[in-house]
Symmetry: C2
Subunit: 159 residues, 2 copies
DNA sequence: TCCGTCATGTAAATGGTTACATGATTCG
DNA sequence: CGAATCATGTAACCATTTACATGACGGA
């Protein structure tokens, strides 16, 4: 894939759980090439350079994945707002929760569409279990948010 | 509160959804004081400086909370590992999911304890709705993760 | 021809953590 | 007395985003 395609690919697949910017992708691609972890060929279509992971790269990838440390410290803006909800009032909080709920609803349909796509794909049978469970995770979290919203919304009295 | 107490307080309350390091807290406390958004008094107990938010600070806080933009791009290590699960094998993935599940189980009991604490607290009735729903969110997410883990674990065949 | 997409990159700023240094106080 | 905790701060480092600059190619 080209650097561009990598970016597009991330957005389209695990975009909900991970992200990388071009400012990140291109420099590391250069480093990876220098380290022999990927090789680059001029794309058949002429423009761009297609990168392919090498065996050494695959080994490195495995190590990297296994050794992945703790995720970065949490930064949940919705929860921070809710925690200081008294400053903002119940009305505002209810609206904010409704907004988050609507977003989760959208995600839910998006994940369902993704799941159908993955299930229909041929030639990637070995991957399906992994991708499906990734998508199922997103689905589960979105559904849980919706349920939570419905549960707590009534507890906010009127102003 | 002193800077130290602020840090401890964050850890103990919304620690699961937000975090700040000392390297962040002390410098901004200084800036806030200079801007008149907090005032500082020598603590009664002698050591440390207790900070109190001013009215101007409260106004600023409200604006800040309302204007909070999108959360930082996602970085879910578990999901990244799962996405590349084929590289790591079903055995490894199942173990990783079990680990996450166990952690969620711990969180669940932790949140329950927190909820009981909050409910028992007197003098903060106005806050309870907000804190309770914050805790309920954590509970809901942890529970959803457990349910998800139980759902997907059997789909991973043996090596 | 011109617009949108494909494609590559860089520079600066940012936001934040980590590690370290320092010392007072309390409690066993 | 010594250890743990309370308490404050700084410097270095870091990963990352943002904004920008550039240009080729395909199709309307």
């Amino acid at each position: 894939m080209t650097g561009y395609e990598i970016h597009q690919g991330i957005e389209a697949s695990i975009g909900h759980f991970w992200s990388e910017s071009y400012g990140q992708i291109y420099p590391v691609l250069k480093d990876l090439e220098a380290a022999g972890l990927v090789t680059a060929d001029a794309a058949a279509s002429g423009r761009g350079r297609k990168f392919t992971i090498t065996e050494a790269g695959r080994v490195e990838l495995r190590q990297l994945l296994v050794g992945l440390g703790d995720p970065p410290p949490p930064r949940n803006t919705l929860l921070l707002q809710l925690f200081f909800g008294r400053e903002l009032g119940p009305e505002w909080c209810r609206a904010r929760i409704a907004e988050a709920r609507a977003q989760a609803e959208e995600q839910l349909t998006h994940f369902d569409a993704l799941a159908a796509e993955v299930a229909a794909e041929v030639g990637y049978e070995e991957q399906q279990v992994y991708w499906s469970s990734t998508i199922a995770f997103g689905r589960a979290m979105a559904a849980a948010l919706i349920a939570w919203a419905d549960e707590v919304t009534p507890t906010f009295g009127v102003d």
